[in-house]
Amino acid sequence: MRNVLALAGKELRAYFHSPIAYVVLTIYSALCGFFFYSFVATYVIQVFRMMEMGGGGPSPNINEWIIRTLLEGILTVVLLLLIPLITMRLFAEEKRSGTIELLLTSPLTDMQIIGGKFLGALGLYIILMILTFIYIALLFVYGNPSGLPLLANALGLLLFGAGLLALGMWISSLTKNQIIAAAISWGVFLLLFVLNWIESYSSSTLGRTLSYLSLTTHFDNFAKGVIDLKDVVYYLSVIVIGIFLTARSLEVLKGRP
């Protein structure tokens, strides 16, 4: 375990040694900030409109109106864009520079190597998540969103990100070129994002199955603040598949059939 953490620490530090961490964090907080501002502004206008209509009813739900739309916005645009930047270097860079020889000739199992890299990337991702929740925390200062659904939101965001990181890590292990790894990841992620469109024009079993596999379908409940075991299992499977494929790819790299 100690060597896994050593590797994870090295990965995390490598992000901050290079411009990647700063670029990702800057883009993320700028986009997130803009999303947040827009949704809050829309919400406020909505509240005023309801007051003008003389409504004495309850003000619209903050969790629904701001947090949910914010999370969905973050997922579809920001993470799709940024996660490939986080994962592209994981293995591609080690292969290009030859440092993979150090890892593969050290007394580490393949799973320890993969685990260390995955945790390192997850570390940077968790920093992004913390930024998100700083924005959300602001809502507590000016409003009173309910806190419990936030747990579901956080779990969803974590699982979703971890799934994409695992897939991105696998794609990075297929090439020596970081740009190629990022490009393929964008393609694959985009496809997985829009897979649920199939549902709207095909009701065959295949159509429904494919749509079920879409990464976005399973986030709906989490965004609403609901934890459904089905969704948890789905994202955990994505993580396991990503890790498994990476392990296969390392075997191939070492010339094992």
Binding site: N3, S97, K254
Partner: protein
């Protein structure tokens, strides 16, 4: 300490190493000698567990590299052809990282980093970023990394490649000083390196072992004669005739002539030291003797002989 039995390694259909066997004894420095593409790096990658063998068996410190890879790797330090350094890390940070993934206990880590840094003469660049170091320093950082967990076996792929002459000498001395406590395998295509640093040599060409023995044994077995270079000033024909009459001389070859100075390559029986007689022969005839030495190139000749013989044998088959 290292046993390689019938090792064959194929990349797809190309056979990089074919049925290679040799052994490295504890505390010994073994030179792995061969031209480009001979299969040195491939063999070393199998020994270090980076690549699995296609067939055959390799054990390090009694552990089969295919069956007990972790145990074998714990006993092995490896310096690949290109030092596997993270260019954005600082030297001390990198060595500590290497120590951690290789299981150096937390309490000893600091000491180990200091020890290998001193051994490899990189103590003065601990805080420098590796990407900003010169090639020579990077190479030494790579070497320090290989030694960080104090392994029994060190596998060094061309450890002196790209170094300046002074650093080459220092690195060789360092490797010599490792002999005894560590078992070292190093690859090279530089011949004097083998003669100066290795106890034993395995010569490999086109994936096959073509010779094995101590540098001396190889010289003697394959040469069968001693070569002396004689440079003198005088009439070349007469000198040549006189040298040929010296007892024990089998062949005199004129190598070079410039400004009236002639160099001869004299082959003689290896049991007999003919140098004294050669000197007397020249001086007695009132010619000026400018230089007389045993040929330092002998191992080079052997190497070429070994590796070109194979090619010429193969050629008709194709």
């Amino acid at each position: 300490m290292i046993q390689v039995q019938d090792l064959t390694k194929r990349y797809g259909t190309t056979v990089a190493v074919s049925s290679v066997s040799f052994e490295v004894r504890k505390g010994e420095v073994l030179g792995f000698l061969g031209p480009n593409g001979a299969g040195k790096t491939t063999t070393m990658r199998v020994i270090t567990g980076f690549l699995p063998p296609s067939s055959g068996k390799v054990t390090v410190a009694g552990h089969d590299v295919a069956e007990q890879p972790l145990e074998a790797k714990r006993h092995t330090g490896y310096l690949p052809e290109n030092p596997p350094v993270y260019t954005d890390m600082r030297v001390a940070e990198y060595l500590a990282f290497a120590g951690r993934i290789k299981g150096v206990p937390r309490r000893e880590l600091r000491n180990r980093v200091r020890e290998v840094s001193e051994k490899c003469a990189i103590a003065d660049v601990q805080r420098r970023q590796i990407g900003k170091l010169s090639k020579g320093y990077r190479q030494r950082v790579g070497l320090a990394q290989a030694m960080i967990h104090n392994p029994d076996v060190l596998v060094l792929d061309e450890p002196t490649a790209g170094l300046d002459p002074k650093q080459i000498i220092e690195t060789r001395e360092m490797i010599r000083s490792l002999a005894g406590q560590h078992t070292v395998v190093l690859s090279t295509h530089i011949l004097p390196e083998v003669a100066k640093t290795c106890d034993r040599v395995v010569v490999i060409n086109a994936g096959n072992v073509v010779a094995e023995g101590t540098p001396q044994e190889l010289t003697e077995r394959l040469q069968g004669f001693e070569t002396v270079l004689v440079t003198a000033e005088g009439p070349e024909g007469e000198i040549k005739a006189k040298l040929e009459r010296v007892e024990g001389v089998t062949l005199v070859d004129q190598r070079d002539i410039a400004n009236g100075r002639v160099t001869f390559e004299v082959h003689a029986d290896k049991q007999k030291d003919v140098r004294g007689d050669l000197a007397r022969a020249v001086v007695e005839s009132q010619w000026r003797l400018l230089e007389l030495r045993t040929s330092g190139l002998s191992l080079e000749d052997i190497f070429l002989k070994l590796t070109t013989r194979d090619v010429s044998e193969e050629a008709p088959a194709n």
